[in-house]
Subunit: 361 residues, 2 copies
């Protein structure tokens, strides 16, 4: 295994939100500095990073200076424009690599990739015209969900379809964007696996967490998930297959639907993931440190968990409850976002719900 | 209880070392920004703080600008010059308050304070001249330790005395500094209590840790300490007595010798303490967050511990062992210090040695 990045090296992070903020803290814990690139003002990550560049993703000079100032570039969100990466790539390594990013940016490419490597997804079909839409509906059945191929998150860019007659209205609603129609998956619950692959190709995974969404936004993750041991193993193997197929370096979040026929892969995110925040309380090496370990060439932590944890997102006005939560035995993480807006992730709370007898296994 | 500091407020930290670094991360986690004041170049805290002022402690203009930019000032070391505090005090609150700082800066004042509030210390006497030295030796017995009253830490500024004849050489060695002679305490081990007092006067304490020193530097802290329940309670009561007597706000570290006659107080530090780093792994609210909670007017965490932990300091070349430790189930904290020097604290490692069945109690 190659030597890890030397102490004091600078890690570049594209995106200055809460994930970049927690990545930055983890990088510091391993003796690295971070340089955050973010178009917006007052990025949460800026409070805990050595340096911030505020510039849009099409500012070539700023991107170039950024790439030249760091030893490796990573990102906290999957919608980094490809053109920005074109500028960075010749100057410094990008981890995880561009293929993972390109696939995850396009729901159609993602579903195609997943089925190509033998994993189950919802039935799907590309849709651009009303004619394609009808054919697609035959393939997916109803109800179905029409999603824009790009830039959707937290339930945005999605329309549910219950009747073929809705086709035109629905296509109008997404304003001619390239779309994918996905069939309905009858699932009893959603779990996610946070896993990582190191530069040496080794893989480590955390125990799967069980996710509860409300209005398309993650509300709560509970670990352990209600899965049999065989199911938990299967979930980890799915994540491993994705990581290997992508020759991936870093942490990935893989969302799985639990169905009577086994797991159906919903999607993966090529980054640290909201449903992995519980690792900050339940593990010696949390997902943020794991990601830094991977991209900096360290051995991965083994993913061992020493406590049962529930992670609750503080969304919008939820953050006002912090005054009460502060009295609880709980670990509070606030993101330093100035303005409270509905649907905005303002922080999260980890609570220990049970213990595991030893941190070693 | 008054309202806590509003989200986004800036906390000023005097000193940019590893304690300031970890305080800064904790402040961010509670939604605050930090501004670090540090005379030295490349302070470890600078990597994770929103702002750094590099200026000496006698730069009145810099101190004034610093104090005017923050909502509250705290410190990561007890040897902040009084004149710097004179500049800050009219402009913004200092927590913990100046009395705790003044007492802890002077070993004679500290021992006097402790005995005045009914706590046991080593026998001691002020020493400035050879004549006083002889009288002091009668009071303390031998062996004894001559310590400078000010600015000693990690075993520096101390001379052990085994015979009265050494008096002149010893006084010469400390170059005429005001000194205190302390009698020998026959102790079986040292424990420390990390405790906190909030703005509402409530006190919370962590379980005492057992400390192992080498060459006058903390090497290892193990929690729980080998104490009976009554002893552990007594240790916490001692810390509580100190906190109340000082009308203290913030975290304090109190070092206690375990003797056949009960606890003897060695010293206290009016700040987060190296022997409290284990709380990062063993508790939902660690000592750094606890300190921020106290000075920002939050309710304190209750100090509950969900795991048994050993904290090992990485001193000087120890840090080279990180390449091996990275393979262990362990939580690594590196301080981002460029130069490895003998005796320099470069990082620490927390290991879980056992579990507690539930995080709630």
């Amino acid at each position: 295994m190659a030597d890890p990045l030397p102490q004091g090296s600078v890690i570049g992070i594209l995106g200055g939100g809460q994930l970049g903020r927690m990545l930055s803290v983890a990088a510091a814990r391993l003796g690295y500095r971070t340089h955050v690139f973010e178009p917006g003002a007052d990025p949460p990550a800026g409070d805990v990073s050595a340096r911030v560049t505020r510039a849009p993703y099409d500012d070539v000079a700023a991107l170039r200076a950024f790439a030249e100032s760091v030893a490796v570039v990573t990102y906290e969100f999957e919608n980094v424009p490809a053109k920005a990466l074109d500028v960075i790539e010749p100057l410094c390594p990008i981890r995880p690599g561009r293929r993972a990013l390109a696939i995850s940016q396009d729901r159609l490419a993602e579903k195609t990739f997943l089925t190509d490597i033998g994993l189950k997804t919802a039935p799907f079909a590309a849709v651009a015209t009303p004619a394609e839409f009808e054919a697609a509906l035959v393939r997916t059945g109803m109800p179905a969900i029409l999603k824009t191929r790009r830039l959707g998150y937290d339930g945005k860019g999605q329309v549910r379809i219950a009747a073929p007659a809705e086709a035109e209205a629905v296509l109008a609603a997404i304003q001619g964007a390239e779309a994918i129609l996905e069939g309905w998956v009858g699932f009893s619950r959603e779990v996610s696996v946070i896993a990582a692959r190191g530069m040496d190709g080794r893989i480590a995974a955390y125990d799967p967490g069980e996710n509860l969404h409300e209005d398309g936004i993650l509300r709560r993750t509970t670990v352990p998930a209600r899965l049999s041991r065989a199911e938990a193993t299967d979930a980890v193997l799915i994540a491993g297959r994705i990581l290997n197929a992508l020759d991936y370096v870093g942490v990935i979040g893989v969302e799985l639907f639990v169905t009577p026929e086994g797991f159906v892969v919903n999607e993966f995110a090529p980054r640290v993931h909201n449903s992995g925040h519980w690792t900050q309380t339940g593990c010696l090496v949390d997902q943020f440190e794991q990601h830094v370990r991977a991209i900096a060439g360290w051995p991965l932590g083994d993913g061992a968990r020493h406590a049962d944890v529930t992670m609750e997102n503080l969304i919008g006005d939820d953050v006002l409850r912090v005054a009460e939560i502060a009295w609880e035995p709980a670990s509070i993480h606030l993101y330093g976002k100035g303005e409270v807006r509905p649907g905005r992730k303002m922080g999260h709370v980890n609570r220990i719900t049970g213990g595991v007898t030893s941190g070693r296994r």
